[in-house]
Symmetry: C2
Subunit: 233 residues, 2 copies
Amino acid sequence: MHEPNPFQQFMEAVVPGSPSRALTARLRGLGRTLSIEKGRIAKLDRDCDQIVYVFEGATKLVAQASGGREQVVAFHFAGDLVSVPARALHSYALTGLMNTQVLAFPAASLVGAAVDAPLLLTEVLERSMAALHRCRDKAVGLGRKSARERVASFLTAMCERIGTRHRDRLRLDLPMSRRDIGDSLGLTIETISRQFGELRASGLIETTGRSTVDILDPVALAGCAGHFSDTVD
Amino acid sequence: MHEPNPFQQFMEAVVPGSPSRALTARLRGLGRTLSIEKGRIAKLDRDCDQIVYVFEGATKLVAQASGGREQVVAFHFAGDLVSVPARALHSYALTGLMNTQVLAFPAASLVGAAVDAPLLLTEVLERSMAALHRCRDKAVGLGRKSARERVASFLTAMCERIGTRHRDRLRLDLPMSRRDIGDSLGLTIETISRQFGELRASGLIETTGRSTVDILDPVALAGCAGHFSDTVD
DNA sequence: TGAAGTCATTGACCTGGGTCAATGAAACCA
DNA sequence: TGGTTTCATTGACCCAGGTCAATGACTTCA
């Protein structure tokens, strides 16, 4: 048994069934493995849309508006597939939250190569629809929610993605800074900090160091998130 | 030559090439045509995700958060394909902005039927990625832009989708109300109204009645949108 | 292990856009 | 064609969250 290989793992994770030798070879030729250091921008091909598989680590996809304002559009962890547009209204960059390994494909070629591999196409389609639905949920948060609701919503979502059990409490080890969280929620670091403070004061969470958050009352926290089933008023 | 038929038009628009008889029959069996009256919610199957083709008219996809707050997640016009999730963090509804005809498919069945039709899959994938990229651009606006920038951005985007030439000026006939615009931009109707007023005062636009907007200076308007190429500061 | 640098917290103050309320203009309808 | 309803505009006021500034707590690396 040897080192896990990014390409092999990509094939297992996103190409279900047993792909043909030809497809495997074709995809292997298309994918470029990249490592992204913590805080650095991935040197992706900026000429065409890219589809990036996160093999190990964590990334953020950041949009740049005028005036140096940044919006984190999504966070990604190992196993995730990210679509990075070459040209849109804003300029997008994929940045490492820690040292990260990814596999990058030109979107058009990947889709082209998958003409005979409906399962690959289907998998990519499924994942991009899931991303669309998450992005819409994020838009609701950005457009219509208070700082408290956004932070509660963020913590709840993070629990589901990277939460761990630690001596029978729910623990979160956040790989992103307060600034990243702020840039993701459309808030400032000061507001994030104040919200963390208030959640701490209410006994919903407990924090240790800069990145560890223990969720003491996940149900109450989710109740603060302002989602629809929270039929309040 | 007879009445254009929603299903035929759907096939021409989203299934490139010449689809097999079998596929055509299969898809015909899956699609349900619906008409959505102005202001009414489409009676879609809420049990599974739906993919909806807008044949004629215009719609909005609205998310409902707690406390009666609404966020318009996207507007759609004839020829657009919309993905409507059955279950997400918020509750989504597709609503007619005018009397509208659509063709609705259960997403899973549509994808299942397309296993042998890579061109259909590719088309759906391409459109949903485009929707994802638009949704991200919207998230940037909601998270990081001023009211002025959001309104300018909205008008500029609408010009590209439904703008018409009218006696050598760029005209917009908005099918949505001020409330819809506000719910789309994360602002109130009052703020929308004030922004329209200021743009009018600056000579960038002119309005007639409730729905007609003439864009007098598209370039200056786009310059207000705060996109990245607007390298300011 | 201590000094430097980064990141987080806290406080004081300010402002963009929300809220509430009144008026006015379109669209609709009998 | 006038009366009703709905929608848009405008003004006065307020507050959540931004901004600015100072302090404090992790990390890092020598």
